[in-house]
């Protein structure tokens, strides 16, 4: 669901809740909830346009998040490499 919201905003933003809900098969409340989670993570931001609130991606934060995940991903590669070495070294 969140991935879907992000890809929608990638395609064209800023978008209103109505636009983001359209065709998703879930309620506006559910979409709003997901948007708030994404906003808390710094991945999206909202702005007011007249009486309407619109949502768009916050690209800098998205890069930061991707970078953070890349780093953790690398750490797991190293950690699992150590596990493999440990198993090979210690035999059965």
């Amino acid at each position: 669901m969140r991935l879907r919201l992000v890809s929608r905003m990638c395609a064209g933003g800023p978008l209103s809740i109505v636009q983001l809900t359209g065709g998703s098969g879930v309620t506006r409340q559910a979409v709003t909830k997901h948007l708030h989670v994404l906003a808390e993570a710094g991945l999206v931001r909202d702005s007011r346009e007249g009486r309407e609130r619109r949502w768009e991606l916050d690209p800098s934060r998205l890069d930061e998040a991707r970078h953070a995940l890349d780093v953790i991903s690398q750490q797991w590669d190293h950690t699992l490499g150590r596990l493999r070495e440990f198993l090979e070294r210690s035999g059965r």
């Binding site: 993570a41 934060r61 797991w76 150590r82 198993l87």
Partner: protein
């Protein structure tokens, strides 16, 4: 090591084929002394039981001031092992207790020539971004240095 695995903003998945039977991999994961040997932490005996929280000193030279803190979620012998922790919780002066945790799940599967181990860490979307950015930026260089230490150790002590 397998580079396969999926990455979204919420989760990391890794798969690695280990040339050892499942029972052996299970012990390396869940016996505190063995876990500590490859993970790099001084795990107290009896650390691993569902629901149990353990704090353990990191053992790598230069990083002894850091603490590993994990809370075991599930243990299904030779099949599944999971814990919760605060990713990148490296600053001993900061209180992480109210921050959201990520869930780390190890799954063991029988595979040709050994055991297929899958690791999934999820829940990153809920980790506050400010803390995440600083924690990991600070962590990156530290980790590179730490890897060099391990490499040195392994090369210098091949028999241990």
């Amino acid at each position: 090591m397998s580079k396969s695995g999926e990455t979204s903003t919420d989760r990391i998945e890794k798969k690695v084929l280990l040339r050892a039977p499942r029972a052996r991999v299970w012990r390396a994961l869940t016996e505190p002394a063995q876990f500590g040997a490859w993970f790099g932490a001084k795990m107290p005996p009896g650390s691993f039981a569902p629901g149990k929280t353990t704090r353990a000193a990191i053992t790598h030279p230069g990083y002894e001031h850091l603490t590993l803190e994990i809370t075991i979620a599930k243990m299904e012998p030779e099949r599944l092992f999971s814990w919760r922790w605060h990713p990148g919780a490296v600053d001993p002066k900061r209180d992480y207790s109210k921050d959201p945790t990520t869930l780390v799940v190890f799954t063991l599967e029988e595979a040709e020539g050994g055991t297929l181990l899958t690791v999934v860490e999820s829940g990153f979307d809920k980790v506050p971004s400010a803390y995440r950015a600083t924690a990991f930026r600070g962590n990156r260089d530290g980790w590179t240095e730490q890897m060099k230490n391990i490499e040195r150790h392994v090369t210098a002590n091949p028999a241990t």
